[in-house]
Amino acid sequence: MTLSRRKFLAAGTAAAAAGLTGCGSVGSLGGKNELSMWTWVGSVNDGLIGQAEKAIPGYDGMKLAMTRIGSNYKTKVLTALAGKSLVPDIVAINDDVATYFPNADQFHDLYELGAKDLEQDFLPWKWKWGVTPQGKMMAYPMDTGPTALFYRTDIFTKAGIDIDPAAVAGLAPDWDTFIALGKKLKQAVPGSSITDNITSIYGYRMAQLPKKYMTKEGQYIGDQDHVRQSFDLAVRVVKEGLSANAQNSTDKNAVVTNGKLVAYNGAVWWAQLGPKNAAPKTKGLWRVTAAPGGAGNKGGSFLAITKYCKNPQAAFALISWLESAKNQAQAFLDPVLFPSTPASYTDSRLSAPDPFFGGQKIVDVFADSAKKYPGAYFSPYDSIIDTPIGAELVNIEASGKNPDQAWADAQHQVQRELSRVGAI
C-alpha cells in the first residue's frame, strides 16, 4: 500500500479520535491474564499482594496488578465507574460502603460467587454491612475498627489511680464514671484531657450504639434520643474542660506528643496513627482497656468486584484468599489492620505482647470489643447526616455556640439535605 497524504491524514485523525474517546478499551483495566485492583495506601499487606502478583491462588494463569491510589481515592473510583471503561476488576471500599448501595448494580453479587460458604468465618455484623437491603452481597469484609480506651499509666499513677487494665475498666464502666475519672486526672495533672476534640467523643459514642441515623425501612431517626444523648455527652465533656480542642491533624498529634491527652476512646488503628507515630517516646507508658459505655466499632473496610471484571471467579478466589483468617492475621502485623475473622484472634502473630503497651496483649481487648459490638444499620445517607452534626459540634467547641441552637441548626440542615437527595 502506498501511503498517500490523504491516507496518512485519515489514519492520523482516526488514531487521534480513537485515543481521545478511548474506544477499543471498554471494560476492565489491565491485560487479559491480569486482575486489576485499586486500594488506598496502607489497606493491604504488601507481602500477600506480592504473592498474588506472581500468581493468584487457584488460578495459575492469572496474576494481580495492584494500584495504590494516593489521595481522593473515592473520587477516582467513582470516575472510573462513571466512565464505564478501564474500570478496575476489584476495588477497596471504606466503611461508607452503604453509600454505594444505590449503585449496587455496578458490582457482582458475591453470594453468586460462593460467598455464602465463608460467612461463618466472619464477624456477623461486619458481614451484614456488605449486604444491601435487597439481600445482595456487594462487598467482602476486610479489616474492622473495634474501639477501646487508651490511657497513659504515668499520669494515672500521678493521680493515684490503679493502672491495671481490669481495674481501670472497673472504675469507668460508663461515660459518667469516665468523666468523673477525667476530672480527677485533671486535678492531679492540670491540662489533662480525655479527648482530642468534641467530635471524637460524639463519634465514638455513636459507634457504640446499636442504631445510627436511619432505620432499614428508610426512616430518619437522627433526631431521636440516642443521637441527642451522644451530642449532649460530647458537649458535657467540653464544658467540663476535658477536651483538648485540637481540631486539625497538627494539633491532634501535638496533644499526644506533649502528653496532654492522657486517655482516649479510640479505634484499634489509632494505636499506630496516634501514639506510635506521634509520640514514640511514650513507649511502654500506654495501656488499653474496655471502653466506657461498651464495645464499639469505627472504621474498617471492604473489597468489591465490579461488574466490568473479566474473571469474577478468579477475583473472588483472590479476595477470599486475601481475607482468610490466616492472611488477615498477617495483615495485622503490617499495616495493623484488625481482622474481621474471629479465628485470627488466637493467632500467635496477633496475641504477641506489645512492648509499646508495656507488654500487654492488646488483641484481647480489641477482640472482645469486636465480638461484643452490637452492630448498627449503616444507611446510604449517613455521611450526609453526619457532616452537619459534626460541623455544629465544632462550632460549640471552637466558637462557643449555644448547644441547643447548634442542635436545631444541625437538624434543620440535615432535613434540607435529606429532602434534596429524596431520602425523606
Binding site: L20, L81, Q247, N248, S249, S383, I384, D386, A398, K401
Partner: protein
C-alpha cells in the same frame, strides 16, 4: 511520506491555462488543518465540559447511576442555601483581605525595584519565587506557622507577651491565615507586572516633574499611579478572578475530610463548596450549579472593577468635574437657604 503526483507540480500548474478556477475550500484546507488541533482539543477539553456542566446542573446525579432531570431545582436550592451565601461572604472577605494589601504592597515593591540600583535581578527573582513554589507546600508550611497550639506565630506572640490567637479555629483567624497565604504567593507576581508597566513610562515625564520640583511622593501619586492605571486594572481583574476561585489554601489547611472549610465553615470558599458538593458528597448537579453561580459572580465583579478603575479616562474626568461643580453649587444653595431661614 510520499508526495502524490497530483500535488507535486502545483507550482508549474499555475501557468497551465486549462485549470479550473481553484476551489476556495480546498485551497484553505491546509491552513484549517494546521490550526485544527487546537480547536479539536478545545472542543473536547474546553467547550464540551462547559456545555456539559450546564446540562448536569439541571439534573440530580451521583456520578454513577442514572441522571435525573430536576429542572431548575438545583438553582432554587442554591438561592435558599445558607451555606452557599456564607461561602460567598467568606470568599469576598478573604478576597478583600488578600487583594487590597497585595496590590498596594506590589506597587510599593515595584517602585522600589524600579529605582533599585544594585542587585536588581536578584530582587526580581526573589520576589517572584513564592509564585512558582507549589501552593500545597506553601500551605503546609503556613499551616504549621498558624497552628493554634504549637504554631510558630503563636509561639512568637506568646514570647513577646501578646497571648495566642486561635488562627485555625476562630472565624477571623482562619480568613486572615488564608489571606496571608494568598498575599504572600501573589505579591511578587503583581510587582513584576507593575514593574513592566513602570518601565514603559517615559523618563521625560519624570524629568519634567523633577524640573517642576515635585517631591517623590507627589511623583508617585500624580504620575506613576495614573500612568499605571491600565496595568492596575489588569491586575485587579486577574486578582478578582483568582480571588473568587481561592480553594487550595483552605483545602490543604483543613485536610481532605468532609469539613474542608475548617471549624464553622469559616474558610469554606465558593470553589471549596463546589468541590465538597461534587466530589465529596457526590452531588454533581449541585456542584455544577455552584460553578455557574460563580461564573455570574466573576462577570459581575469584573464589570465593577472595570467601572472603578478603568473605563474611558476623559469621559470619567469630565463627568467627575461636572459632578464636582454640581456639588459645589448645591452646597452653596444649601448654605444660602440655611442663612435665609435664620
Amino acid at each position: 511520506m510520499a508526495v502524490t503526483s497530483k500535488a507535486a507540480p502545483a507550482a508549474v500548474a499555475t501557468t497551465a491555462a486549462d485549470d479550473k478556477p481553484p476551489n476556495k475550500y480546498r485551497q484553505a484546507l491546509p491552513q484549517y488543518t494546521a490550526v485544527a488541533p487546537f480547536f479539536i482539543l478545545f472542543a473536547i477539553f474546553g467547550a464540551f465540559p462547559v456545555l456539559f456542566s450546564i446540562w448536569i446542573s439541571f439534573h440530580s446525579w451521583d456520578g454513577i447511576g442514572q441522571m435525573k432531570w430536576v429542572g431548575l431545582e438545583q438553582y432554587h436550592y442554591l438561592l435558599t442555601d445558607a451555606t452557599f451565601w456564607k461561602t460567598i461572604g467568606n470568599t469576598l472577605i478573604i478576597w478583600v483581605l488578600s487583594t487590597v494589601p497585595m496590590l498596594l504592597l506590589a506597587l510599593v515593591i515595584a517602585n522600589a525595584l524600579h529605582n533599585a540600583t544594585r542587585l536588581r535581578t536578584f530582587y526580581r527573582i526573589a520576589y517572584f519565587v513564592p509564585n512558582v513554589t507549589s501552593v500545597v507546600a506553601i500551605t503546609l508550611v503556613f499551616g504549621s506557622i498558624f497552628s493554634n497550639n504549637f504554631g510558630l506565630l503563636n509561639a512568637f506572640l506568646q514570647s513577646i507577651g501578646l497571648g495566642k490567637v486561635e488562627w485555625l479555629t476562630s472565624p477571623w483567624g482562619i480568613k486572615i491565615a488564608i489571606a496571608t497565604i494568598v498575599t504572600w504567593r501573589w505579591v511578587g507576581y503583581n510587582a513584576i507586572i507593575y514593574l513592566a508597566g513602570l518601565q514603559a513610562i517615559s523618563a521625560d515625564v519624570y524629568e519634567a516633574a523633577k524640573v517642576d520640583g515635585a517631591s517623590p511622593r507627589q511623583t508617585f501619586w500624580r504620575i506613576t499611579v495614573p500612568m499605571l492605571r491600565p496595568v492596575i486594572l489588569f491586575t485587579a481583574v486577574t486578582s478578582t478572578i483568582g480571588g473568587l476561585q481561592i480553594f487550595t489554601e483552605s483545602r490543604v489547611l483543613f485536610g481532605d475530610t468532609s469539613s474542608i472549610g475548617g471549624p464553622g465553615d469559616a474558610g469554606l470558599t465558593i470553589v471549596s463548596y463546589l468541590y465538597q458538593s461534587a466530589f465529596i458528597k457526590n452531588q454533581f448537579g449541585y456542584g455544577a450549579a455552584i460553578g455557574w453561580a460563580l461564573f455570574v459572580l466573576i462577570v459581575l465583579f469584573s464589570i465593577i472593577n472595570w467601572r472603578l478603575i478603568g473605563g474611558n479616562d476623559e469621559e470619567r474626568l469630565t463627568r467627575r468635574a461636572a459632578r464636582r461643580v454640581e456639588r459645589r453649587i448645591a452646597a452653596q444653595n444649601a448654605k444660602k437657604e440655611a442663612a435665609d431661614v435664620r
